[in-house]
């Protein structure tokens, strides 16, 4: 059973692990890539509804995991496949999720749930296979912590620093071509996806991944050629330690931020962030690159956004805009080597249209180094 904080209740059939989970209920409209979505640490603290009704058709495989384990709290689907059909599959979804303790609820009218969230906004919810009393579950949903003001980044970040050198693989897992390493990049892990690391390696970066709370001085001591700020879950405002670190790094080293990293840059630049009604979660968002006037179809996953009106346009150029709702999708500093996007150029899942941004980062590093 799934209960929302506003009292709406959906009954379905349980799969995966039995249990009870609470979180913010959000929907993702991607047609493919459920494994990547569930293993994206940005979904920490969230119950994910997948709008496509058949989930699990092609099973799961180790290459499609974006991190060591699924991070979403629970999964809501219309129908979970009993049979996985793909030459790539090593394990069926329900086993895979069960192994990581993730509950799944299937068989509900997911479209009705999505329309509810669209109308009333993302809200807290509880999924349970144990407690089937609607009133009790609604009460639990109301009592669960809100996304606003919650620092989830430090919870999902790596506890230890580590190195990453592995480039993207093709679907067979072959890394046929290994680019020469040209630059050292320090990547802040607020909940980083593996494909970001791979894409950085693809453009010739040796990456040192550091915990979210690493002070700027420690990073500068590593003498990086560039700093990368990763994606991550939740509200950027409580991640004040990161904002502080970025302020200290700005102008001293080229910086590229994605998603939460972008929001942290926005805050570091003196801007404000706000919560979107139900966020952007999907693989089909059109983003206009304001500098080239070309449209990129992008993968997105965020519940908060940077308010463009809060930025000083004398310092900051707005570079990307979402064509669906005109929200800010990217910015760059006019004098300092710094840019960021709200969406996911690393894709996985999603289209590759914005992959050029990793190249831009490297070019910015080159120019900075003269």
């Amino acid at each position: 059973m799934l209960a929302l904080e506003d009292g709406r209740v959906f009954r379905g059939r349980g799969y995966g692990a039995p249990g009870e989970r609470s979180g913010e209920v959000v929907f993702n409209t991607s047609l493919w890539g459920y494994q990547e979505i569930l293993t994206d640490p940005s979904y920490a603290g969230q119950i994910v509804i997948l709008t496509y009704p058949h989930i699990g058709n092609y099973g799961t495989n180790p290459l499609d995991a974006e991190s060591a384990r699924p991070f979403a709290e629970a999964l809501v689907v219309r129908e979970l496949a009993e049979l996985a059909s793909s030459w790539r599959s090593t394990e069926e979804v329900s086993h895979y999720l069960e192994q990581f303790g993730m509950p799944v609820i299937a068989g509900i009218d997911t479209r009705a749930l999505v329309r509810h969230l669209r109308q009333y906004g993302a809200m807290r919810g509880v999924i349970s296979t144990v407690d089937l009393d609607p009133l009790s579950l609604v009460a639990k949903a109301k009592a669960s912590p809100s996304m606003i003001g919650l620092d989830l980044a430090s919870r999902v970040s790596t506890p230890e620093r580590y190195e990453w050198n592995e480039p993207s693989a093709n679907i067979y897992g072959d890394t046929a071509w290994k680019p020469p390493t040209r630059f050292h990049v320090v990547a802040y892990d607020y909940g980083i996806k593996r494909n970001i690391l791979r894409r950085l390696a693809d453009v010739g970066c040796r990456v040192t991944v550091v915990p979210a709370t690493t002070p700027a001085s420690d990073v500068l001591a590593m003498k990086p050629d560039g700093v990368f700020l990763s994606n991550g879950p939740g509200d950027p405002e409580p991640v004040d330690y990161a904002v502080k670190a970025v302020r200290e790094l700005m102008g001293r080293v080229p910086i590229f931020g994605i998603c939460l990293g972008h929001q942290i840059i926005g805050l570091a630049l003196g801007g404000k962030t706000y919560k979107l009604k139900f966020g952007h979660h999907g693989g089909n968002h059109p983003v206009l690159n304001l500098e080239t006037q070309k449209v990129e179809i992008t993968a997105q996953n965020h519940g908060f956004a940077v308010d463009p009106d809060s930025l000083k346009l004398s310092e900051v150029a707005l570079t990307h805009m979402n064509l669906n709702d005109q929200t800010l999708e990217g910015l760059r500093h006019k004098t300092m080597p710094l840019f960021s996007v709200q969406y996911h150029p690393e894709a996985s899942p999603g289209p590759h249209d914005a992959g050029y941004l990793f190249g831009h980062f490297v070019k910015m590093i080159e120019e900075w180094k003269g």
């Binding site: 793909s86 999505v114 059109p286 449209v295 669906n324 709702d325």
Partner: protein, 1083 residues
């Protein structure tokens, strides 16, 4: 960047007649393009030879030409209209080929006409397999190994190099004509020979077979700023080896991981860029090896296609409309999304339902033909179904097909089952259901069929649930169980069969338990944004989004999948009903399940329900919408079959009462009515068995026409000349259900057949068109060419035709349209059949008279009166309009091409001319029936026709033709002093007539059937003619028309004219009356 202002006048080329591989999806795309470009202020010139299209309605373009789609006529139109640009990407392969031809002949350059939508280079690269493959290899994409050859020797070398099985594909043919898979040397040689002949450039591709691989299609759009998006992915249920038009297909792709899908998406963009399609939509096909994931590019169509129509309906994204706007300079992000209004068209639709398309074949029409499915498309239509799951969509799709068969029908023979699973054929899906029910495992079926196990597992779930439901029984099933059954897509009818009860009791019980469907919206965005377009499908879910209005509304039932005998003409009528009723202020609701059509464009009516046309599905919509009336007389037999049940359920039926339809179909009651009205009909009777049939035939005299009481498109109708054949027919009918009574009619030999369409409001009657058939009675009216106005009918007969028509319309209380078929023999006018509903000829008569009959009829049904329209009692027609049928024989190897009472044509064209001869010649040309202006004519006629052939032969000789004939015919001609050479019949020696045809020494064949004895001889002649593209005429009346046509072609200049010019006078007031009704009626 907004639209281009350097071009003002655009020529749009349509796709011509409905043929296998090119159906009404191009009316849909052409209509969308016309609407979009007209709204953008361009002056439009349209050419299409098919009068049964919405796009040729005079409102859609400024200058509409119903002329043959040949370079000759196109040049005449261009010369006259001087367009700035031509858009060739919305008219299928026909339009693309014409654009290439016009360009190569220098016509475009001569008149300074630009190609927009696709450049010549792009078209050539996409169409020429060799260029295409080279381009793919250059950009690093994998393709099947292949060699292009122009000789048989080179082909043999290539075959040795690649190894069997091989795919043979002739270049530049329509719908894959001539392509196929060959497994051995013998098949290979035959296919190569035929392929070289069929290819207009005498070129054949010999290719590595990817048989059994998974097949995918992506629908891609690109604008001139190089923004590119994928509108829809489609996965074929049937793996590679079956033409995608013959495959069950599913949207979106079900069995690709995101990484595989994105790889395909990247490749698709590489393809569209490499080919150089700068603006518009393209369809790109891929094959994926199921065990290794190896992906190869198969082909791309640089234009909108059948798949793009499907993709548009599947996602709510109108590809053709957007493609047209991109062609004139818009960017994707400048065009708003109609459905969400707030978001742009530059995005990729995402869906939260599953779409299944299932083809519909016409196997029963061509019993002799080979029905194995391969790379040459054979289906004549398709259905699409939307469900929240694959299971639900599949089951909705199956019932939309109207096959009347049950998923678990027993197989013919168990050993046969394996063959039927391994060899793709029209019934394979049913065999899969059966095999799963009989205990075959998903794995073993996947092995046999190469269909992805995911799909098979879904079907296995349905089969398993059916078993459980059967065991549980209807009474014991709780509402949870009912809901599950309905969520799996099982219909009341199917449940009734499982439980051996009637469908009514299933329905009653289901409603008692409150199990009803809800309606969900197709919104392009999986619910992320609000939808403003009520495009709906049913599902057994919780939330209903239909949100019906309180307006006065009329529901129109469409005609379902295209089939021979029921196609685009009825969709045309349904669309017109929607337009006309909207103009009267009604809210219009369309129900249909055919994705190719204009009626299922969400723009056509106020609300669209994409649903099966069954009683259960229609009633669910009626319960939701509560319309003030239903229109059932425009969608052909499909909605008519529901009329009684709907009426019995209390649904108001507009127009002619269903009782009249019943009366007209009940031979006995109708016979009594005619007798009372003193209107002659051929002597007839109804027989329940062989003895009765023999007795009736003895009474009325041979030959007799036999048919089952329920008839669609002349199905199973034959003419028999003796007792033995009659007995054989009736015995065969005994094996079929519901064939009895068998109707036995006296067949009127050498009679002239006439079709009359009429409008009536219950009091007044307008005779809309008196169409004289060019073929004699005995050929199905849908297969016969006909002419408006009548050319050879006597005044007395015309008077009788009018009189009978008016009286019949009154007697049957017709409100709306009526069609009557007559035969005239020796001055007597007989009624053959009355259909108190829209007929196949309505669009043709509308185009010929300038009066949109279906619109007038719809308004009559909604309460207006004929006198309000100011029409004359009989609509005037000027000049001559000939309608000619188009046949699918080239796609049906083995099928006999002889015409008879069983309808075989898939489409029609119209020829317009100042003389009957010219109109006929144009119609023949438009139907790709070449009328030679010089050369050799082969003549062989039966004894009955011999006296009459002399005149024709003389005329041909006068026109300079060389004549050859078989012994008997040649003798008759020689005796009449006409110079003729004798040629052997097939069994007489060699070289015989078939040899001559095959060596291209014959330009026209006039061969009237001699009866059963020479059947095989004639069949060989006809097949050879089809393959050689030589026109073969099988009736003397058609031969006379052909000779007139040839004379006209030689003596008259090519003249083209637009419908607007033809009908400028006379119809303006009518159009005003139709479109501006002061207040909605029926309040």
């Amino acid at each position: 960047m907004p639209k281009r202002t350097d071009i003002h006048k655009i020529l749009i080329i349509g796709s011509g007649p409905i043929v296998i591989g090119q159906a009404c999806e191009f009316d849909y795309s052409g209509t969308q393009a016309c609407k979009a470009l007209k709204a953008d202020g361009y002056e439009l010139v349209l050419v299409n030879s098919n009068p049964a299209t919405i796009m040729t309605d005079p409102e859609l373009a400024d200058h509409t030409y119903v002329e043959p789609l040949t370079a000759e006529y196109l040049e005449a139109i261009i010369e006259r209209e001087r367009p700035d640009a031509v858009l060739p990407t919305v008219g299928g392969q026909t339009a693309l080929n014409l654009a290439v031809e016009l360009s190569e002949k220098g016509v475009l350059e001569r008149y300074a006409v630009q190609l927009i939508g696709a450049s010549l280079e792009a078209i050539k690269m996409a169409e020429d397999r060799l260029l295409f493959k080279d381009a793919m290899r250059r950009i690093g994409l994998d393709v099947p190994a292949s060699v292009v050859v122009t000789t048989e020797e080179a082909a043999t070398r290539a075959a040795e190099q690649i190894g069997f099985p091989l795919v043979i594909r002739p270049s530049f043919t329509l719908g894959g004509t001539g392509s196929g898979i060959v497994y051995n040397r013998e098949e290979f040689e035959e296919a190569v020979r035929l392929g070289l002949q069929l290819s207009p450039v005498h070129e054949v591709l010999i290719e590595e077979s990817v048989l059994g691989w998974k097949e995918f299609e992506l629908e891609v759009m690109r604008d001139h700023a190089d923004n590119a998006v994928v509108i829809c992915s489609i996965e074929n249920f049937d793996p590679m080896g079956v033409h995608t038009g013959d495959s069950v297909t599913v949207a979106p792709a079900q069995t690709l991981t995101d990484k595989e899908y994105q790889r395909m998406r990247d490749a698709a963009f590489q393809v569209i860029r490499a080919v150089g399609v700068e603006t518009g939509g393209s369809n790109i096909q891929f094959a994926v090896e199921p065990r290794t994931g190896r992906m190869v590019v198969i082909e791309m169509n640089p234009r909108v296609s059948r798949s793009s129509a499907l993709a548009s309906k599947a996602t709510g994204f109108p590809i053709a409309k957007i493609a047209a706007r991109l062609a004139v300079g818009y960017r994707l992000d400048e065009i708003p999304n109609d459905i969400t209004r707030k978001t742009p068209s530059c995005f990729e639709p995402t869906i939260d339902y599953v779409v299944v398309k299932i083809p519909k074949w016409a196997s029963e029409k061509f019993p002799d033909a080979d029905h194995t499915l391969g790379t040459q498309m054979k289906s004549v239509g398709e259905v699409m179904a939307i469900g929240r799951t694959f299971k639900e969509a599949l089951m909705k799709g199956l019932r939309s097909l109207e096959t009347g068969r049950k998923p678990l029908a027993p197989p013919a023979d168990p050993s046969e089952l394996v063959r039927r699973l391994t060899t793709p054929n029209p019934d394979r899906l049913w065999h899969i259901f059966f095999a799963l029910g009989a205990g075959h495992s998903v794995e073993s079926l996947a092995e046999l069929t190469r269909i992805d196990p995911w799909f098979l597992a879904q079907i296995a779930q349905i089969v398993e649930l059916q078993g459980e439901l059967k065991r549980a029984g209807m009474e014991a099933l709780d509402s949870q169980g009912w809901r599950e059954a309905k969520r799996f897509g099982l219909s009341d009818q199917q449940l009734a069969e499982l439980w051996s009860v009637d469908a009514d009791s299933v329905r009653r019980r289901r409603l008692e338990l409150g199990i009803r469907p809800v309606f969900k919206r197709v919104d392009t965005c999986a619910g992320e944004f609000e939808s403003f377009t009520p495009y709906l499908y049913s599902s057994y879910e919780e939330e209903d989004e239909a949100n019906p209005s309180g307006r006065n509304k009329v529901m129109i039932l469409g005609s379902g999948p295209n089939r021979i005998g029921q196609g685009i003409e009825f969709d045309y009528c349904c669309c017109h009903a929607a337009f006309a009723l909207k103009a009267m202020g009604f809210e219009t609701i369309m129900v249909n399940c055919n994705p190719e059509t204009v009626s299922t464009d969400y723009d056509t009516s106020d609300r669209l329900y994409f649903e099966p046309l069954t009683f259960e599905d229609v009633m669910a919509i009626v319960d939701e919408e509560k319309p003030m009336g239903l229109i059932v007389q425009f969608g052909g037999q499909t909605p008519l079959n529901l009329a009684r049940a709907l009426q019995a359920a209390g649904v108001p039926i507009l127009g002619t009462p269903p009782e009249s339809i019943d009366l007209a179909e009940d031979r006995e009651r109708f016979g009594r009515l005619l007798a009372r009205m003193k209107i002659p009909q051929p002597a007839n009777g109804a027989a329940m068995n062989v003895e009765e049939a023999l007795k009736i035939a003895a009474r009325i005299g041979y030959p007799v026409l036999l048919r089952p009481s329920y008839v669609l498109g002349g199905r199973a109708m034959v003419i028999v000349y003796d007792e033995a054949s009659l007995a054989r027919y009736v015995r065969r009918a005994e094996e079929l259900q519901g064939a009895f009574p068998i109707l036995v009619d006296r067949f009127l030999e050498a009679a002239t057949e006439v079709d009359v369409d009429a409008l009536a409001d219950g009091e007044d009657v307008v005779v809309a068109g008196i169409m004289e058939h060019i073929e004699e009675a005995g050929i199905h009216s849908g297969d016969s060419s006909c002419v408006l106005p009548a050319v050879q009918i006597s005044h007395d007969a015309l008077r009788l035709l009018r009189d009978y028509t008016v009286r019949l319309a009154r007697e049957l209380h017709v409100v709306g349209l009526m069609n009557v078929q007559y035969a005239i023999q020796n001055g007597t006018v007989y009624v053959l059949e009355v259909n108190p509903r829209a007929s196949r000829t309505v669009p043709y008569v509308s185009k010929a008279t300038g009066v949109p009959l279906a619109k007038v009829a719809a308004q009559l049904m909604a309460g207006r009166k004929l006198r309000e329209f100011g029409l004359k009692p009989e609509l005037p027609v000027r000049p001559y309009f000939v309608k000619s049928p188009v046949f699918p024989f080239l796609k049906m190897p083995g099928a006999d091409t002889i015409l008879g009472p069983e309808m075989k044509s898939t489409g029609e064209v119209m020829g317009v001319g100042e003389s009957f001869g010219m109109a006929f010649a144009k119609a023949q040309q438009a139907a790709s029936q070449k009328l030679p202006v010089e050369g050799t004519v082969f003549l062989s006629v039966n004894d009955h026709d011999k006296p009459r052939i002399v005149g024709l032969a003389r005329e041909l000789a006068d026109l300079g033709f060389r004549l050859v004939g078989t012994r008997g015919t040649a003798g008759v001609l020689r005796r009449a002093g006409i110079s003729v050479e004798t040629v052997y019949k097939v069994n007489e020696g060699r070289p015989n007539v078939v040899d001559l045809i095959k060596s291209a020494k014959i330009d026209l064949i006039i061969n009237t059937p001699l009866g059963r004895a020479s059947y095989f001889d004639e069949k060989a002649i006809r097949r050879a003619a089809v393959q050689q593209g030589v026109t073969c005429i099988t009736t003397l009346s058609a031969a006379a028309a052909a000779v007139g046509g040839i004379r006209a072609r030689r003596e008259e200049e090519i003249r083209v004219g637009s419908l607007q010019e033809l009908h400028r006078k006379g119809t303006a007031a009518l159009r005003r009356s139709l479109s501006a009704v002061e207040q909605p009626l029926g309040q």
